[in-house]
Structures are given as C-alpha cells and as structure tokens.
C-alpha cells in the first residue's frame, strides 16, 4: 500500500509532464544488458532497467516434440519471482503475476517466430531440442515485463547448442557448439496509466498507484506480435493507439541495445 500523499504527488507531477525521478513521460530508465554471465547455461543475460534486475537463463535439452508439430523444437518460458527480489515476494508455486509475465514474454517470442523452431528438429516426431527460458527476477523496481522480455531475447541471442551426430536414433554429442537460430527480435514496451496520463517504463512507485497497465510487443519489422492489458482499470481507444505509436519508436531504440 502506498500512501495517499505519494499517490497525489505522482499524479500532480504528471499533469505538468514530470515524474518523481525526473524522467519525461516517454523516457525509459537506463537500460543495461550483460549477456552470457552464466557459463553453465547455454545462454544467459542480466538486464537492468534502472534498479530492476532480471536474469534470464536458457537451457537446451533433447526431448519429444508436440504431436501436432512433429517437425519443430519446443519453447517453454517460465518465470520465478525469487523471494530475495522484493519484500512482497514469497516462496512457493508461481502466482498469477508470474504466470502472466511468462506467458506475455512467451507470446512475443513465439508469435514473432524469433526462433526458427524447425531447425531444432532432430528426428521428426521423436526427438527435438527443447529450449527452456527461465526468467529470474532478482530485484523488483517496476516494469518486470519489459526487463524480462529483453533478458529472454538477449539470452536467446547468445545461446549455443552442442553439436551432435546421429547413430541410428541415438544422439551423440560432439565437440563444439552451434548458435541457436534466432531470426526475429521482439521488443516489448510497457505503459502505465495514472489519472489518464500514459507513461512508459513505470517504476515500482508508479506501478503501485497506476490504474492499469498496457504492454505491446513489436517485431523487427515494426509489426505488433503481442499485447496485454493488465490491472483493474480501463483505457480509451485513443490511449491505446497513442501507446502503439510511441511504443513502436521505443522498441526500435531498445532493440539496438541487443543486436
């Protein structure tokens, strides 16, 4: 719970186009991407957006394909709100916030076809590579969705899969690695609505007073590949269309940080 005073202070500043930390309404906090920091993982990246820290790790294993997609590898996204990241987080099975976050990140990667899943097929219908993306929230200071989506993409870009050869149906691991076939770069941009003002990249204090949240994900061609409204508030059609215009520019800027 935030105090009413803080809520009024944030709302009042916004009417004059300002925010508590001095940013403009369409300005992100500083974004830093540190790829490849977990050597044991096939791919990884730590992303900072201001004081928010999210680590994504990728593990690749051999598994079975889905029966309706026998020629494609499998992608799964999972997220953990680790208790050390916030006094609000508790240990235990993933809550709905964490599930929603993982599914929004998953949608962006899947719908933009960021990974060429057909290249991950080993034996059609029997053996494929399964790509596990695990998102680890380390410090929660707002906008976990954008930080997680960026960390997941940055981790995929530096993911390497072990080389193999087939002996009959046995997969033999060989020396050396091959780059994961990443062919698109979705970037998500999240807005918060506070008293009818739309702001990008809400910090935790802003999230605590926001009426609603809106995330839009753009692929490398500037097309929309995922959207999600969150929170118990509302948007007008004009606010959504405005967010898409701004979001498209922001996504371009952020994409340059990872490729």
């Amino acid at each position: 719970m935030v105090s009413r005073i803080r809520q009024r202070q944030i709302a009042k500043l916004l009417t004059s186009g300002k925010r508590l930390d001095g940013r403009s309404l369409t300005e992100y906090r500083e974004i830093k991407v540190e790829p490849g920091i977990i050597e044991r993982a096939e791919g990884s990246a730590l992303v900072h957006i201001g004081r928010t820290k999210v680590l994504a790790g990728v593990k690749v294993e051999i598994g079975e394909p889905f029966s309706d997609r026998p020629n494609e590898g499998v992608l799964t996204v999972n997220s953990e709100f680790v208790p050390l990241a916030s006094p609000e987080f508790e240990a235990g099975p993933p809550g709905e916030e964490s599930i929603e976050l993982a599914r929004v990140v998953d949608r962006g990667i899947r719908e933009s076809k960021a990974i060429d899943l057909e290249k991950l097929c080993i034996i059609p219908g029997k053996k494929v590579f399964v790509v596990f993306i695990d998102i680890y929230v380390l410090n929660h200071d707002g906008n976990l969705i954008d930080a997680s989506a960026l960390a997941a993409m940055a981790a995929l870009i530096n993911t390497k899969i072990f080389n193999y050869e087939l002996e009959g149906e046995e997969v033999k691991i060989k020396l050396g690695y091959t780059q994961l076939p990443v062919v698109n770069y979705p970037i998500s941009v999240t807005f918060a609505k506070i008293n009818d003002k739309m702001i990008v990249d809400p910090g935790l204090d802003e999230e605590e007073v926001m009426d609603a949240r809106f995330t839009v994900t753009f692929d490398k061609n500037g097309n929309i590949c995922a959207m999600q409204k969150g929170g118990g508030g509302t948007f007008t059609k004009e606010q959504i269309l405005e967010a898409i215009r701004i979001g498209r520019e922001k996504a371009e800027e952020i994409r340059r940080l990872i490729i």
Partner: protein, 245 residues
C-alpha cells in the same frame, strides 16, 4: 496435417462456417439459470457453451484476504475436461490462471467494490464446450451474472474478438480460425462509458491492421451488448409476468 493448409476464406469471401467477414456467430444468452447462485448466466456462441455463476458479496475465506475499504472480486475461469478435442486435465493450467486474472481485471472496473468492504464476490466461469473466443464469451456472461446477483455496476462489460484470417480482418473467430489464423485480438469494453477493460493480442499485425481489428471488435461488442441487455430484461419481465398473473 500442417502442410495441407486449408482455405479459411473462400473465393466468395465466406468463412469456414459460411459467415461474412464482419458477421458474428449465432448467439444465445440466458440469465438466471442456476438456482443456488446469487447470479448466473449462460451463453452459446457458435459451438461455445459456457456457464457463469456469482456468489456474494459474502464472507471472505481465507479471512486475511479481506480488504478494509472494499470487496475483493475473485474469478475462476475453468474448462471442463470434455470441453475440447483432447481431454484437458481438470487441474488449472497456466493458460486458465492467466485468463482468470485478465477476466477479473476486465470486470473489476465496472463493480462498485467500495460498497461492500470486507467481503468477497466470487465469479466462476465454466467452459462446457470450447469453440474459440471463450474468454470473451466468459466476460460477456460474467458481467451478466454480476448484474443478476444485484451487484451495483457502472456499466455492463461486453467482449468480442477480431482477428486476421487468410490476410483479412474478421470478426468473432471460431476455433479453426483462432488456431490456423494469423492473429487474434480479444477486446472487452464498457459500452456506455466507451472504455476498454481487456485487450490482448497474439499473432502478427501491422499497426494499421490492428486499428482495423480493434474497430471491428468494438463494433462486435456493440452488437453483443444489445443481446446482453435483451437477455437481462427477459428474465425480469418473465418474473413480473409470473407475479402479475
């Protein structure tokens, strides 16, 4: 299976079930279908068969969830194991948990929660048969069940999806169009206040196509809203007739 991609819109511009691009599926809505619930509603939309019930405002269990200044709205969206082609495990999936959250958030803005502090309003949505667009149909009857329970609301909430199929923007996707189409945009709104309360998208759309899809789904919402109102009135008119005769 995947290679022989079927045509979803034929040369006459008609869809797999014979509809035009901006045509809704046949919809049947009923209000007050369960005697135990405080409010309930049922919808058939295409092959969708979905039932919703509201219990509350009532005591909160577990107690620590209660809020001192308003009611909590809880929502459970659940699919019956036999509602889909391949049996669905009855345990709530990640998809169902996400949908429960976004449906709750689509309905929250309309309910005067502050009138019932320290209570819970529970909404249960059971999908008995699924045919694409179940979250939208669930929201449409969820808000009717709330109204039927006599809970004060700012507006009804109505939902409808639009999407892209065979390169064209179409209204109210069915199961096949949802699975094989290129994009799906579910929208929920409060029709009198003109406010959007749910918006999701998956697939691939240009910003121009998205705007077209958004406008089309809003148009769909308006048409379903008329049916929603009619269903709500029907229940109370029939009660009045019973009383008067």
């Amino acid at each position: 299976m995947k290679n022989e991609k079927r045509e979803l819109i034929d040369k006459d511009g008609l869809r797999v079930d014979g509809r035009k691009k901006d045509e809704l599926r046949p919809i049947k809505i009923m209000v007050g279908v369960l005697s135990n619930a405080d409010g309930s509603a049922y919808i058939e939309q295409g092959k969708n068969k979905i039932i919703a019930a509201v219990y509350g405002p009532r005591e909160v269990h577990p107690r620590h969830l209660a809020l001192p200044d308003r009611a909590i709205l809880r929502c459970r969206y659940h699919m019956a194991p036999f509602s889909v082609e391949e049996r669905k495990s009855p345990a709530p999936s990640r998809r169902e948990l996400e949908l429960s959250k976004v449906i709750r958030e689509a309905l929250e803005p309309t309910v005067f929660l502050e009138q019932y502090p320290r209570t819970a309003i529970d909404l249960f949505i059971e999908v008995l048969q699924a045919d694409g667009g179940t979250r939208c149909a669930g929201i449409t009857i969820g808000s009717l069940a709330l109204a039927d329970a006599g809970i004060p609301m700012r507006d009804l909430v109505v939902a409808c999806a639009a999407g892209k199929v065979d390169g064209q923007i179409v209204l109210d996707l069915n199961d096949i169009e949802d699975k094989e189409g290129e994009a799906d945009v579910p929208v929920a709104m409060m029709p009198n206040l003109n406010l959007i309360t749910l918006l999701q998208m998956d697939g691939l759309l240009t910003p121009e196509e998205f705007e077209e899809a958004l406008n089309l789904s809003i148009e769909g919402c308006r048409r379903i809203y008329a049916l929603q109102k009619k269903a709500l009135k029907e229940k109370y008119i029939s009660i009045r007739e019973e009383v008067e005769t």
